[in-house]
C-alpha cells in the first residue's frame, strides 16, 4: 500500500481557506495511493487558474502550461508513452471557455486520459467574473446587469458528443468523489468528471450548503449505459442535482488504437540513427 503522504498533499498552497480545491487534492492523493501508483508513474497536465496549480501542490510529474490548453499536450504524451497515467485538471473557464475547441475534439479522439474539471461556476483567480457554467441569476463586477449567456451544461455536452465516460461529483462527498476518480482513471478512454467545487470567496450562490441540499447520488438502479436516460439525467439541475457516472460506454477504440503503426510501443525509449532512413532518400532517386 502506497502512503498518500508521498504525494505531499499538505504542501502550502495559494488557495483560499475553505476552497473546494483542498478536499479535492486530498481525495486525489488518496486515490493515487490506493491505486498503488508512484508519483513518477503519473503525469498531470493543467492550464491556468487556481485548479491548474494542482501540480505544484501534489507531487506527480506536472505540465502547468497555458490557459485552456491542458488537453493538447496530454495528447502528445499519450503518443509518446502509453504506460503513463495521464490526468488533466482544469477549471470551468479553462476547460469550457478557453479550451472549448480542445474538449470538443478530444472527446472525438477518446484518448486514455482522466479529466477532472473543478467546476465552481465562477472565475476565482481573476476575482469573480462569470464562467461558462455560472447561473444566469448571478451578477458580477463585469456582468452588473446579469449574465448574457445561458449556462453551459458540460455533462450533457460530453454525452451528446459521444464521450465514453461522463460523471459528476461534489467535493463535499469525499468518498463519492474518490470512487469517481478511481473509475475515471481506470476507464480506457477519455473520462470527464465535472466536479462541483464551491468558490468560497466569489460565488455566493453555489455554496457548500446550496450543493448539500441538492445533490443526490445515482442509485444502483440507474443504467449508465443508456444514452437517452443519460441525456435526461444530464438535464437535471436545480433542486435535484444527480452525481455519479451519468454515462459510460465500453469498448470504443481509444486514440492510440487508431495508430497501429505505434501500437503499444513506448516511443520515448526509441532512438533511431539517421542512417536508418536511407530508404527515404532512395525513394526520390
Amino acid at each position: 500500500m502506497v502512503n498518500p503522504e508521498i504525494y505531499e498533499p499538505n504542501r502550502e498552497t495559494a488557495w483560499c481557506p475553505g476552497c473546494g480545491d483542498i478536499p479535492l487534492r486530498q481525495c486525489l492523493a488518496e486515490v493515487l495511493a490506493e491505486l498503488e501508483l508512484k508519483p513518477s508513474q503519473v503525469t498531470m497536465f493543467t492550464g491556468i487558474g487556481q485548479a491548474a496549480k494542482m501540480p505544484h501542490y501534489i507531487k506527480v510529474n506536472g505540465f502547468n502550461g497555458l490557459h485552456g490548453r491542458a488537453l493538447p499536450p496530454a495528447i502528445g504524451m499519450r503518443l509518446a508513452n502509453p504506460e503513463m497515467k495521464v490526468i488533466v485538471e482544469s477549471g470551468d473557464g479553462d476547460t469550457y471557455a478557453e479550451g472549448g475547441n480542445h474538449i470538443l475534439h478530444n472527446i472525438r479522439r477518446n484518448p486514455d486520459i482522466a479529466h477532472f474539471v473543478h467546476n465552481n461556476q465562477i472565475y476565482g483567480l481573476t476575482k469573480g467574473q462569470a464562467s461558462p457554467t455560472s447561473e444566469e441569476t448571478l451578477t458580477t463586477s463585469t456582468q452588473p446587469n446579469g449574465i448574457t449567456q445561458r449556462p453551459f451544461n458540460p455533462v450533457k455536452f460530453a454525452i451528446a458528443m459521444g464521450a465514453t465516460f461522463v460523471a459528476r461529483s461534489f467535493v463535499g462527498k469525499k468518498e463519492h468523489l474518490k470512487a469517481m476518480m478511481k473509475a475515471a482513471i481506470n476507464h480506457k478512454g477519455y473520462a470527464l468528471i465535472d466536479i462541483l467545487q464551491p468558490c468560497v470567496s466569489f460565488n455566493k450562490i453555489n455554496t457548500y450548503q446550496w450543493y448539500m441540499k441538492r445533490v443526490y447520488e445515482l442509485g444502483d438502479d440507474y443504467n449508465s449505459t443508456d444514452y437517452h436516460d443519460a441525456i435526461k439525467k444530464a438535464d437535471e439541475w436545480g433542486d435535484n442535482i444527480p452525481i455519479g457516472i451519468i454515462y459510460k460506454a465500453e469498448g470504443v477504440p481509444i486514440f492510440r488504437d487508431r495508430h497501429p503503426q505505434i501500437g503499444d510501443r513506448v516511443l520515448v525509449k526509441e532512438k533511431k540513427h539517421p542512417r536508418e532512413f536511407q530508404a527515404l532518400i532512395d525513394e526520390l532517386k
Binding site: 495559494a14 508512484k38 508519483p39 513518477s40 508513474q41 503525469t43 497536465f45 491556468i48 496549480k53 501540480p55 505544484h56 507531487k59 506527480v60 510529474n61 506536472g62 505540465f63 502547468n64 502550461g65 497555458l66 490548453r69 488537453l71 493538447p72 499536450p73 496530454a74 495528447i75 502528445g76 504524451m77 503518443l79 509518446a80 508513452n81 504506460e83 503513463m84 475547441n101 480542445h102 470538443l104 475534439h105 495508430h259 497501429p260 503503426q261 505505434i262 510501443r265 516511443l267 520515448v268 526509441e270 532512438k271 533511431k272 540513427h273 539517421p274 542512417r275 532512413f277 536511407q278 530508404a279 527515404l280 532518400i281 526520390l284 532517386k285
Partner: protein
C-alpha cells in the same frame, strides 16, 4: 545550355501529375532540373502553370523566357505567349488556332493537337496529358525508354491505366513527327547519386531523419506539404502525424510530446504561426525543445494563399511575449532545408529552446535535383540525461542553475523516484511557481545564457560566394539564394566584381562575416518582401546601413534576370 518549358492550364486539368512525370523523366535522363509551381487558391478552374527549367549544368532559379509552352487551354496561350521565344514552340490542346493569336505569334510554331480525342480513342480521356509528354519528348529529340520506366513506376498499382498511358505516350511521339521545329538537347548521362526533391519534402525528410516521432499541424497552404510528406510515410516510419483542431492545439500537442521525451515538431504558414505565438513564448520559459516551420506566404492576414513572400522575418524573430531566447533559421534551398531541419531539431534539444525554420512557397514547391543527402555524417544530439544518471536522482531540478544556462533534462517516468515539473509561470529550479524578484532575475539570465552558448558554439555565419575584392556586395537570406547566385554570375560575366552573402541563421544574427565584407563595396540587399525587413534587422543589430534595397512583393519569386537587370539599372548605371 538551359531550356525552359512551361505547362499551363486550369486547376483540375492534371498539371501536377504532368509536371511530376515530365520532371522525373528529365531528371532520370540526367538533366539538371528546376521546376516551380504557380497556382491559385481554388480547386478547379483559374489559371495554373509550372515552369520546368532544365539543362546540362546546375540550375538555381526559375526563368521567365520560355522555349516551349504547353497550353492546355486557350487562356494559357494568351497569358504566356509574350514570354515564348521567337524560335519557340507553342503546343496547343485544340483543333484550330486562328485569328489574332496566330497573327501575333507568326514567328513561333504553333503545334496544335487534339490530345483529348486521341486519348478517347485509346480508351480514357484522362491520358490526354501523357499524349503531350510523347509530343514533348519527340520535340526534344529524346527517346521513350526512361519515360516508359517513369510511367511504369507511377502507375504500378493500376496495370490497365499504365498501358493506356504508355499507348498515349507513343501516340504523342508519332504525332509530333509532323512538327517543323525540333530542339537539340546536349548529351547527358543519368547521375545515380542524385535525388529530385522540393523544399517541403526536404523539411519533412530532415525531420524524419532527425528522429522526429510526432508532427502535429493544422493544414495551411503552403506548409501542408511537410505534413503530407510525413503523414504518407508515418506507417513505415512508425511515427505519428496528427491533424490538430487548430494551430494552438498543434503546437501544444507537440510540446506535450517534447516534454514526454520524444522529438516533436509543428508547422504552418504565417497566419497559423500567429496563433502559435503564445505557445512559442511558453516553450521559451518552460525550456521545451520544439521546432516550428513557417512556410511563408504573403500577408498580412490571409494575404495571397498560394503565392510567395519573405515577410514573416521580423514577426518570427519577435514572436511570443516577454523576453526569452529563440533561434530563427531561414532555409536557402532544398538541400539547405534538409540539413537545417536536421540541425534545428538537434539545436532545439541541445538548448531546450524553440527553433523556428523559415521557408516559403517558392522554396516549398520548387523541385530540384540535389546530391543525395549523406546520412553517414549526421549524428543526433542527445539532450536528455542518461538512464544511468536518472537512477541516482532524488532531488531533480528541471531548471537547475548552471554555467551555461542549460539544465539537465529528464522526461516523466525516467526518474524512478522523482518527478519532472515544468511551468509556464516563473518558477524555481524545481519548476514551482515563484514571485520573488531575485529568482526571477536569475531565471531570465539563465535562459539568455543559453543563447550566449549557442552563439559561441553553433551559430553559423552566412555563406559567401565571390572573389576577395569586390565592387558590389549582394546580401540575401533564405530562398532568394538560388536567384541571387545566378544573378551574381550574370553580373560577373559582364565583368563586375560581385560577392554574395546569404544568411541561413538570421536570429541570433551572425555579424562577423557581414562586418568583414561590408566595408568598401556597394551593398545591395535583395528581399522578397515590401519593406526590406532584413535590412532593418541588420541596421537595428549592427548600425550598418545597406546602400540599396531591392524588394519584390507581388507574391512572385525573383528570377535571376530581374535581379540582374534591376541592379544594372538602379545600381550600376
Amino acid at each position: 545550355m538551359d531550356f525552359n518549358l512551361v505547362i499551363a492550364g486550369e486547376a483540375g486539368q492534371g498539371l501536377n501529375t504532368l509536371n511530376f512525370v515530365l520532371s522525373k523523366i528529365l531528371f532520370k535522363s540526367g538533366f539538371h532540373i528546376y521546376s516551380t509551381k504557380n497556382y491559385e487558391s481554388r480547386v478547379r478552374g483559374g489559371h495554373n502553370f509550372m515552369k520546368i527549367r532544365f539543362g546540362d549544368e546546375k540550375i538555381t532559379a526559375p526563368k521567365d523566357e520560355q522555349d516551349i509552352l504547353l497550353a492546355l487551354n486557350k487562356a494559357s496561350i494568351e497569358i504566356h505567349q509574350d514570354y515564348v521565344k521567337d524560335d519557340g514552340i507553342m503546343i496547343y490542346n485544340g483543333e484550330s488556332y486562328e485569328g489574332e493569336l496566330r497573327e501575333k505569334n507568326q514567328d513561333k510554331e504553333i503545334f496544335s493537337l487534339e490530345a483529348a480525342l486521341i486519348a478517347q480513342d485509346i480508351g480514357n480521356g484522362r491520358v490526354a496529358n501523357t499524349v503531350f509528354v510523347g509530343v514533348l519528348l519527340k520535340l526534344l529529340g529524346m527517346n521513350l525508354k526512361i519515360a516508359e520506366e517513369v510511367l511504369d513506376e507511377y502507375f504500378r498499382r493500376a496495370e490497365d491505366i499504365k498501358q493506356m498511358n504508355i499507348d498515349a505516350l507513343h501516340k504523342g511521339y508519332e504525332k509530333a513527327e509532323v512538327a517543323k521545329r525540333r530542339f537539340e538537347m546536349p548529351e547527358v548521362t543519368p547521375r545515380d547519386n542524385q535525388i529530385l526533391i522540393n523544399g517541403n519534402q526536404a523539411i519533412g525528410m530532415g525531420a524524419a531523419v532527425a528522429g522526429v516521432q510526432f508532427y502535429s499541424a493544422y493544414p495551411m497552404t503552403p506548409a501542408t506539404g511537410v505534413m503530407n510528406y510525413l503523414a504518407k510515410r508515418q506507417n513505415d516510419l512508425g511515427i505519428v502525424v496528427e491533424q490538430a483542431e487548430d494551430e494552438i492545439a498543434a503546437i501544444m500537442m507537440a510540446l506535450g510530446g517534447s516534454y514526454s521525451g520524444i522529438r516533436s515538431m509543428t508547422g504552418s504558414s504565417g497566419g497559423g504561426f500567429a496563433l502559435m505565438t503564445e505557445a512559442v513564448s511558453f516553450a521559451g520559459i518552460a525550456e521545451l525543445p520544439i521546432v516550428i516551420v513557417d512556410v511563408q506566404r504573403p500577408g498580412p492576414a490571409t494575404g495571397l494563399p498560394t503565392r510567395t513572400e519573405q515577410a514573416d522575418l521580423l514577426f518570427t524573430i519577435n514572436a511570443g511575449h516577454g523576453d526569452f531566447p529563440k533561434m530563427v533559421i531561414a532555409v536557402k534551398d532544398a538541400e539547405d532545408a534538409f540539413y537545417q531541419t536536421f540541425r534545428a531539431v538537434n539545436l532545439a534539444e541541445k538548448y531546450q529552446i524553440p527553433v523556428i525554420l523559415l521557408s516559403d512557397q517558392f522554396l516549398a514547391d520548387a523541385e530540384v535535383n540535389v546530391d543525395a543527402f549523406d546520412l553517414e555524417e549526421l549524428e543526433n544530439y542527445n539532450g536528455f540525461i542518461s538512464d544511468k544518471e536518472a537512477k541516482n536522482i532524488t532531488d531533480y531540478r528541471r531548471y537547475a542553475f548552471s554555467d551555461d544556462g542549460v539544465s539537465p533534462m529528464a522526461y516523466p517516468g525516467q526518474l524512478e523516484d522523482d518527478i519532472v515539473l515544468i511551468d509556464s509561470d516563473e518558477h524555481d529550479e524545481h519548476g514551482h511557481i515563484i514571485e520573488d524578484a531575485e529568482t526571477r532575475v536569475k531565471m531570465v539570465d539563465k535562459r539568455f545564457d543559453k543563447i550566449d552558448k549557442l552563439i559561441m558554439e553553433d551559430l553559423e555565419e552566412p555563406e559567401y560566394v565571390g572573389p576577395e575584392n569586390i565592387d558590389y556586395l549582394l546580401i540575401g537570406w533564405g530562398s532568394t539564394y538560388g536567384p541571387l547566385q545566378e544573378a551574381r554570375e550574370l553580373l560577373e560575366q559582364d565583368g563586375h566584381d560581385v560577392g554574395l552573402l546569404t544568411f541561413s541563421d538570421v536570429w541570433p544574427l551572425p555579424i562577423e562575416e557581414l562586418e568583414d565584407k561590408i566595408d568598401g563595396p556597394t551593398s545591395i540587399i535583395v528581399e522578397n518582401n515590401g519593406t526590406a525587413q532584413f535590412s532593418r534587422l541588420i541596421s537595428a543589430e549592427t548600425g550598418i546601413m545597406i546602400n540599396h534595397e531591392l524588394v519584390k512583393y507581388n507574391g512572385r519569386p525573383f528570377t535571376a534576370h530581374e535581379i540582374y537587370e534591376a541592379i544594372q539599372e538602379e545600381v550600376i548605371d
